[in-house]
Symmetry: C2
Subunit: 329 residues, 2 copies
Amino acid sequence: MGGDYGPPVTVAGALAALDAHPEIHVTFVGDPDQISTEIKNHRAETDRIAVVPSDGKISDDEHPVAALRRRPRSSIAVTTHLLKSGAADMAVSVGSTGATMAASVFALGLMEGLERPCIGGNFLGLAPDTTVIDLGSNVDCRPPQMVSFAALGVAFSRHYLGIQSPRVALLSVGEEAAKGNRQVQDTFTLLEKSHLNFVGNVEGMDFFTDKADVIVCDGFIGNILIKFAEGLGSVFRPFLQRQLASTFPEGAVTRITDAIWQSTNLPRTMGGPLFGINGLVMIGHGSSGPEGISGAIETGLLCHRIGLVNGFRQELSRLDMAIMLESGE
Amino acid sequence: MGGDYGPPVTVAGALAALDAHPEIHVTFVGDPDQISTEIKNHRAETDRIAVVPSDGKISDDEHPVAALRRRPRSSIAVTTHLLKSGAADMAVSVGSTGATMAASVFALGLMEGLERPCIGGNFLGLAPDTTVIDLGSNVDCRPPQMVSFAALGVAFSRHYLGIQSPRVALLSVGEEAAKGNRQVQDTFTLLEKSHLNFVGNVEGMDFFTDKADVIVCDGFIGNILIKFAEGLGSVFRPFLQRQLASTFPEGAVTRITDAIWQSTNLPRTMGGPLFGINGLVMIGHGSSGPEGISGAIETGLLCHRIGLVNGFRQELSRLDMAIMLESGE
């Protein structure tokens, strides 16, 4: 029921994924009438579709936990319970990220050693092998949390991107250990003591310099960066179009500007898993079109096939919790 | 003496500015032999050049305050004292930003109500009327500091960019007042109480959406963003070149990719003033070529002509210090 466009887009995207993958089944959770209408519009009659009714949805501007308490039968709550019960192997949401996270924690639980789930991934088309974490779910992170993020990022980098011994770096304003705010300086010390392949601080330009495979930052900064990159990509497109249009044929211009936009807007079409949840929950962009929905399902199928959730759990379990606790506040 | 290339570049850039502006005089501070050699290489014989000797320079990896104590005759210390004495109307440095800030505070003093100077400006070619502050001089900012930054940014926007009543926004992860980390939430409250034209929170994409004229952020984030944009611009260039080269003639490709790079790398060619110092001190990019030096001088000439330093002082004096202090730590 979520996302900027609701069932017309979520159903269309999921049906496209169903067509492309004969091995999968899709369960739609939400208002049965709306969903059935959309399914009929697509003339998609197959026994690989199920519809489970829910009651209401949670919007972006509600407090996620309070809203879940008020509407325990909302679409995201029902969806995560289907995962918990084993009726589904993965959940996909383009609704409120906060509500998806809260519902996932309630239904499926957090992995040991975590305080909250987070979101990470390779968000830049121009740096497709660089994992950034946290991309916006956690603000005001304590240093031990940031070390947990690093471990989760390493698991993603190793299992999803195939990098055997990912280099972990901390995002700061200079390479030296003393550079950065207090949060970063304290996290630096913890990362040095950890089992991770920590290569030190990197700076804003190093998303593009291949100095690290996993870049760790506070979710406040991660959220701003991912939106900044999206915004930049979006204005680059008309800017480039104007630059190019005077000289070159229109078809060529569009092909190139689309590539540019894609290079800064990966998450809009591929989605990403919630990190640190005992289950596979995919988050798609709220403004996803049908290809954003099917893209998030595709990404989820890959995560499922490679056992990413187990990978997260293994890497987290290698962290020395004694060091993490010792650091305190 | 500073910057990545030292006198060969700083002298060449300053001499270019001298040529372009018959009304200015340039005083070089540093090693007289090196400087004289460069001046002779350019056959620049004019009575509008002076050389003042200094002893040593401060590098990026030194602690600025400690280094200034050890080398009180370093080039940046002598330069800021020339400004203090009235022998110069503006100083330009491409050396260590920290050392330039510290030397400026020692020699010229901070404006009332500030704890540290900061750096701001319109750093994105794609958003040339948007002032962002702080761009990296202050990490771990307290909320009253961020309000001072806002006032300084407003002065820059009004006097330098000609925007009469600049809209001030706070960089966060959502528009609602409750969104963001504690620092941002507390700053939100203070900005609401201030005399500034505060329009609320903006997000990472809003550098490009014209929702605000002045965007306020912690220097930690500002530094990461400016370097991120630079890095992105730098990889966009070869990326675009590859995209375009197969189809289009080389000259056209270079012209367009240069425009793209320029659009994300303004500060490299224009420099910017230190905000909140009782004197006009220009900071250029450490990797400036000659055009970066002359660009910083050009920017400084404009700042001087419009009385930017007085503009900063006036806007700061309008802040209600009672509200600022009350918030305390």
